[in-house]
Assembly symmetry: C2
Amino acid sequence: MRRPRDLTPLLDPRAVLLVGASSDHAKLGGAMAASLASYDRPVALVNARGGEGMHTDVAAAAAALDATPDLAVLCVPAPACPDVLEECAAVGVRAALVCAGGFAELGGEGAEAGAALQSRLAGVAARHDLAVLGPNTSGFVVPALDLRASFVPGVARVADGAVAVVAASGGLNHALMFALERAGQGVSLGVGVGAGTSVDAVDLLAHAATDPRTRAVALHLETVPDGVALLDAVRTTTATTPVVALVVGEHDLGDFATSHTGALATSWRTTRALLEQAGAVVVDDEEQLVAAASTLAATRLTPHPDPGVGLVTAQAGPGLLVTDALLGAGVRVPELGGAARDRLAGLLPPMTHLGNPVDTGRPGPRHGEVLTAVAADPGVDLVAVYALAEPVVDLPASVAAADLGDAAVVVGLDGSADEVGIGRRDAAKRGLACQVGARGLVSGLVGLVADARTRHRGLDDVVAGTGWVGATDGAWDEARAKDLLDALGVPTPARAVVTEADARGAIRALGGPAVLKVCDPAVAHKTDVGGVVVGVTEATLDDALARVRPLGAERLIVEELVPDGLDLVVGARRDPVFGPVVLVGVGGVATEVHADVALAGVPATRAQLTALPGRLRARALLAGHRGGPVVDVDALADLLADLGRLLLDHPGLEEVEINPLRVTPGDGAAGWVALDALVVPTTTRPTTRATTRPTDQED
Amino acid sequence: MRRPRDLTPLLDPRAVLLVGASSDHAKLGGAMAASLASYDRPVALVNARGGEGMHTDVAAAAAALDATPDLAVLCVPAPACPDVLEECAAVGVRAALVCAGGFAELGGEGAEAGAALQSRLAGVAARHDLAVLGPNTSGFVVPALDLRASFVPGVARVADGAVAVVAASGGLNHALMFALERAGQGVSLGVGVGAGTSVDAVDLLAHAATDPRTRAVALHLETVPDGVALLDAVRTTTATTPVVALVVGEHDLGDFATSHTGALATSWRTTRALLEQAGAVVVDDEEQLVAAASTLAATRLTPHPDPGVGLVTAQAGPGLLVTDALLGAGVRVPELGGAARDRLAGLLPPMTHLGNPVDTGRPGPRHGEVLTAVAADPGVDLVAVYALAEPVVDLPASVAAADLGDAAVVVGLDGSADEVGIGRRDAAKRGLACQVGARGLVSGLVGLVADARTRHRGLDDVVAGTGWVGATDGAWDEARAKDLLDALGVPTPARAVVTEADARGAIRALGGPAVLKVCDPAVAHKTDVGGVVVGVTEATLDDALARVRPLGAERLIVEELVPDGLDLVVGARRDPVFGPVVLVGVGGVATEVHADVALAGVPATRAQLTALPGRLRARALLAGHRGGPVVDVDALADLLADLGRLLLDHPGLEEVEINPLRVTPGDGAAGWVALDALVVPTTTRPTTRATTRPTDQED
């Protein structure tokens, strides 16, 4: 695991040098000077042209300080940055914030010069072991220290709080800090990583994990330069501190993304899946990010396979909205048991709904007892309490009066800005999670549930997979790939690898109609090019041979015909950013047109692997839909672990795919047969992705 | 079309009677009295037990008023309501708000009595032609008149504005009004419909369409009692006033929904599809509802098939987030043309991104010219301008300085509560649409685009469909259904309907392997029960006959075997709420497990019908995916119109379904063949839905 950088000189500097300061607040260096003025430790300003309160060079500024300037803030143009950084290092600076753009993110004519400049900057940082934040960022904020190294004027409004914002972009860092501010929340830290030449999200997550002020991290990602280190950091951090992640880049954002981040995007789906597996709560937009992170900063469930929510609402309409959205997010809203219903019947008027949600009408004096009754239900792990905020309604007090046992609680409010502000402050004083609006409440609840579930899955035993020993070099055709599967104990159809001359004998030996396929590593998409003939008998063999002959394959496979069933795609591939991942989808065009594939990094726990089929939109197909086979998820987990271990053990393998793995109805658990297999060695990686290639036996 | 009720007595009463008033503001009748006190016309209070300022009966209260009490507000318990309403009618009341619950929404032991009580109340309303809002609602608000007939204390904060809130539930009405208030927006009207015994969403939409204060409607629906009237109202309203709709009930909300609304939910998907077809913008949550409605209240595009958004952002990170979300919502963010890029190159520093989005960095003095350049691009119909709100940045002023031509504009802000408040007020003063946060901006833009698109589709010619004349009574088997398709000109396979004795001759006549099927209206799921044998030859006929014989069908179909292709499900059915709808999906299990069906009400315009394939998640399959056939969407529109017209013309038909309609690759446009057809007469409607039935010829 990569050793994280010590960020103390950056985030808690004994003194600060601002190079490129200005007295004009409309300029970047002037806004930065104004922001840094709130820091209660020494800040020296440098401007080559001098000016009131300005030093004309770095050395003079440093000499004037009565403390070591751990941090240098550079508001100078890009071309000047490497030399200025060198000067700063000479006076003892150990960390820097570089705001300027104009480095590797440049496109067009400036691309080469920009990349060279960034490389020079990185060289200076490495030589002096400097923690450099940026370039191309608007800075960072540590409100508890009143350290606001940002050129965005409004940062003075950002209050101290429990959420650490770690954003890929300076703009997003500020947008998120302000969104938290508007929600009545503060931050322990807000950082825009920018180009990430030395300080990156990995360092910041490691910092947040041990920072006593940070109770949750709001993580925004655009690109992932080092996937393995990022996942390690998320795993380590989430053991103590929840991480909520927003990944941008579902769609092709073209050269704008390149111009902004200076790096190619990795796979959005893979990044989300692997972050989630590592323990993060993955969200879809910045509002969910703010709601989930602020909720998780206030409360957290213990690891749990599937926590149930008990919703107590004062208004039925919003209660329906919240319940509908929770069910849509796959969160359990269980029926309450008889004991809870009996207790509620004694507490509430007869017209109210005593199920889940509990519809109380306007909360009365015994509202705390209602919450107690719901929390005591064995199916409820998390209580949500919603009401329109009114002067006569005090939900935080109701919660405080309740005995919630081990259940967590989130308060949901609607109402005028003034009323919800009062409720929110009351909740904060009592240390309660509180969200405004139905969607905010849902985002908070879903975040808590997702966090508890992913941590629970992470606690399960790792599935090591079956090892395989063998050479991986040379060409891989279907026959060799299936021999590998045989060695792993994966069922394959009875078959013979033959020349044309031996085909007839092989069909006779199989004793029924067969499948005839070309077996040649040079023919990658054999179905598409007519290299597969189904239902071949001795009578039709000559015709079948005539059809495949133009492909020029010397070897043929004669294989038993397998009955119809459910076709899965199961495989392992080497993600360029994250390393080996395993995946499962339903075969045929559906997987592709619906982009319906579930994946996990390996090694993985059994619970992480057995959860994959449930992630598919087409999951019903794997669960005995309309009399179809039921996929044995435990056996599937073992198979995935085997395939993943192949890649972990053998750097020479790039990809292994079974497509289709045909599942046939059996007695109870279903069996399966690998109809086709593809092994791609590392040096001959195809450009198309595994799951978009039609290598069906019979298609 | 249903004639809408005149709501003047309800929403603009000359005087008001409050029955069940109280001097205790914590009580419902006390809170209502406090709210109504702001109305500047006479309000008389009635409490049977008297009290300060109270009349003890309705007649006395009415007599004390110097104007006719058009409106009576009833804050009395449910059992008293019918009689009180009768008394009110006697003194000239023409409208009433009934707040109490305890009517038809009651479950369990009280269900029968509750329904009877509601029926009595409705009887009184009908007899006296009263516009009754409720029962079971917290009321309504008309801020421009300071008329606040609500028992929720905070309603005094709701300001006058341009959005009419029409909510199924009183709680949601208040939640939405307050959400608008928190967003700096007011309402022209806010109504919670409740049980909707007489005044319902249809009346309120009709009112909003002609209300000069209303510029957009935020509609919340739980159940739809009269689908045809609702769609009529949406069509009429959206001609002048945009309607944004949130439909609750994607998931089974069980007895809680029943207890709240007192009615069964209709199909969520159908309701959304038909509202959208009628001209509404359909959203997924209440935050989108607020953002889209408030944006559409400020600006609206002219009808357009596919408006393009030009995004000008001051910060790249949020720009990426917005662009990613717009693409995810299917909104076009077109590349800018050379002319726009050239103009931008002269306005912006070289490091900024001149594509779309345009990344300006902090807006400078020529920001208005940047907006002008983007708006002038021929691909841009709608300009979005985003920035972190700072004292030195004035986006509304930039917009005002720009020449946007015909392009609409939405301002997006992030920043501290104070700063965005200033920006929002500036925007409002200039009449500009303004949203806070990336998601709010996206929701506003998507709303504008959706509104322009659905109106454009509505302007196209209606496809009347081919009429068919014939009897519909009696049993419908596959043979009769296919004869009907033949009459409509839908290609079907060559076939013969035979007895066992004639099967051999029929196979010989077809001249190749055939499909043998039982033809018996009593055998509904013939594939599931073994009633279909594929690839039957004269040699295998006896075996095939032996397999289907146990089903006891007297008639058999011998049909030509159709080559593989893309299987669609195409049909028309009679929705219990909305009437005839047509639908298209991809055949096989995918449609079902992915719930991937697109539908429209009929009659429909050509643009509405040709848009359906594009609504499918699997739409790529219909567009020549991997060498597959390209579905002729115009021919499909004609086929759908034909099937829809069958149901429009023939009340005896409940459902017509072609499953599968096999599309085979052709030269250019694809042809198709209806492999199986099902006609369900009205009296024998099956309990399962058309699209979940496996009636494939060969499956």
